[in-house]
């Protein structure tokens, strides 16, 4: 684990450094032109945003029902990364939308539910920061409800009109667009894994220090 993190960070740093050239070399999309290239960052962050939600929810369930204290560290790490990658998604999305659709924001189901998920992550972290003792269990309960909200994206798509491209677009991309996309995705994913590892380790060590303090007080 310890040697893995610097490797992942180094590799993703190099890949993210090279990414602008690779994205530049990719062909222009016929109708949207240059602005479509934001997609190479938008898609990876959006996927990792959902992955973070999944990790946070599963870790919280394990913490709550499996009584594994270390799972809480993973949950909080995933929540913080969810907020970071969610913010990236919510910043790159409107930039693209302004050029492609002419507006910064539409109340499309996918946009709305991404914003909702971002709000849930923020609420979770506010609780963890200001809740004081006892907020870990509460946070886990909150995260479970938050995860249940994720499928809402797909339930309401058919009812609301949608502008957002379907997820089925990605597998059908031409190779010269697909390669830069998966290249960026790999770079983002490695960064995500490394940060998740580091943040969870920090949280575990914090919990250990706290336990040691308590043991010291009792002794």
């Amino acid at each position: 684990m310890k040697t893995l993190n610097p490797l992942l960070i180094g590799l993703s740093a190099v890949m993210l450094g090279v990414a602008p050239w690779i994205i530049n070399a990719a062909p222009y999309e016929s109708t949207m032109g240059l602005v479509q290239k934001i997609f190479y960052f938008h898609f990876p962050s959006a996927i990792l945003f959902l992955v973070a939600a999944l990790i946070c929810g599963v870790a919280s369930a394990i913490f709550l029902f499996g009584k594994k204290a270390s799972a809480d560290g993973w949950a909080i790490a995933a929540a913080e990364l969810g907020l970071v990658f969610g913010s990236l998604t919510l910043v790159t999305g409107p930039l693209w939308a302004r050029k492609a659709w002419g507006v910064w924001w539409v109340w499309d189901p996918r946009l709305t539910s991404s914003l909702l998920l971002w709000m849930i992550f923020s609420a979770y972290l506010l609780l963890r920061k200001y809740g004081g003792p006892g907020s870990d269990k509460l946070g886990a309960g909150m995260a479970l409800f938050g995860m249940a909200n994720v499928p809402f994206i797909y339930v309401s798509v058919n009812v609301w009109r949608t502008l957002h491209p379907q997820t089925s677009v990605v597998p059908t991309l031409p190779t010269d667009m697909g390669i830069p996309l998966w290249f960026c995705f790999a770079a983002f994913a490695m960064l995500f894994v490394a940060l998740l590892n580091l943040r969870a380790r920090l949280e575990h060590q914090r919990a250990r220090v706290e336990a040691l303090y308590l043991a010291e007080d009792e002794a």
Binding site: L127, G132, K137, L138
Partner: protein, 228 residues
């Protein structure tokens, strides 16, 4: 087993309502707050003596959720203030049954608030509340149930946490937005000039779906989160 579950839930609900009947504190304050919310909206959006079309559904649901939050916070605050929460949790009863009793008590209170709130919104914003009373009542009942199911759980969990008064709405609104959307869209479908019954029916179905998810999750998590 099932019998004892509902008996405990019934007793918890009756206890809450008995306290409430004697003081009327939560009911009166919540009711007044709900009316104030509607009035604040009236002043914010009415132009030249007329409210724009299609706002009644939104105002109704905002008033329900705002005032509901107030009531939720109070029901557990009372337990904390009198230091009776521990006794309640120590009682030889299923924790989910206690949760259910609390939820039922809250639902009765919110139903009383809505009985005043709905005619008021109908009156002030020209909403045809009597056109489809059954469907409107179903939407309100299901929406309130979903909202209160999450709210009761969160309010119970927050009792032991610092800054609980600010955290309840912070946690509750993002989670319950699907219920709000379904409630508002369904009610708006009934209130519009040519009511869209199929649409209302769809949102009612979605509300049933959400209520089932929220109640299952709440019953499931109440036990571990209330264990110290």
């Amino acid at each position: 087993m099932i019998g004892s579950f509902f008996r405990v839930a019934w007793h918890v609900m009756r206890k809450d309502l008995t306290v409430e009947v004697r003081s009327k504190e939560v009911l009166l304050t919540t009711l007044f707050f709900a009316v104030s919310v509607v009035l604040v909206f009236s002043f914010a959006i009415v132009r030249e003596g007329r409210a724009p079309d299609d706002v009644a559904a939104g105002i109704l649901w905002v008033a329900v959720s705002f005032s509901g939050t107030l009531a939720m916070g109070r029901t557990f605050e009372r337990e904390r203030y009198n230091d009776t929460l521990r006794a309640l949790l120590l009682a030889p009863a299923d924790r989910p049954a206690i949760y259910t009793g609390k939820l039922l008590g809250l639902l009765v209170l919110l139903a009383l608030v809505e009985i005043v709130l709905v005619p008021l919104v109908g009156l002030l914003f020209n909403a045809p509340i009597l056109a489809y009373p059954g469907r409107l009542a179903t939407l309100l009942a299901l929406g309130t149930l979903g909202f209160a199911a999450v709210g009761t759980l969160f309010a119970a969990m927050l009792v032991r946490v610092r800054s609980r008064d600010t955290l309840l709405p912070v946690l509750l609104y993002p989670i319950t937005i699907p219920v709000m959307i379904a409630g508002v869209r369904g009610t708006a479908a009934l209130f519009q000039a040519t009511p869209d019954l199929a649409m209302a029916q769809f949102w009612i179905g979605l509300l049933v779906f959400w209520d089932a998810i929220f109640i299952t999750l709440a019953l499931w998590t109440f036990e571990p989160v209330m264990t110290e």
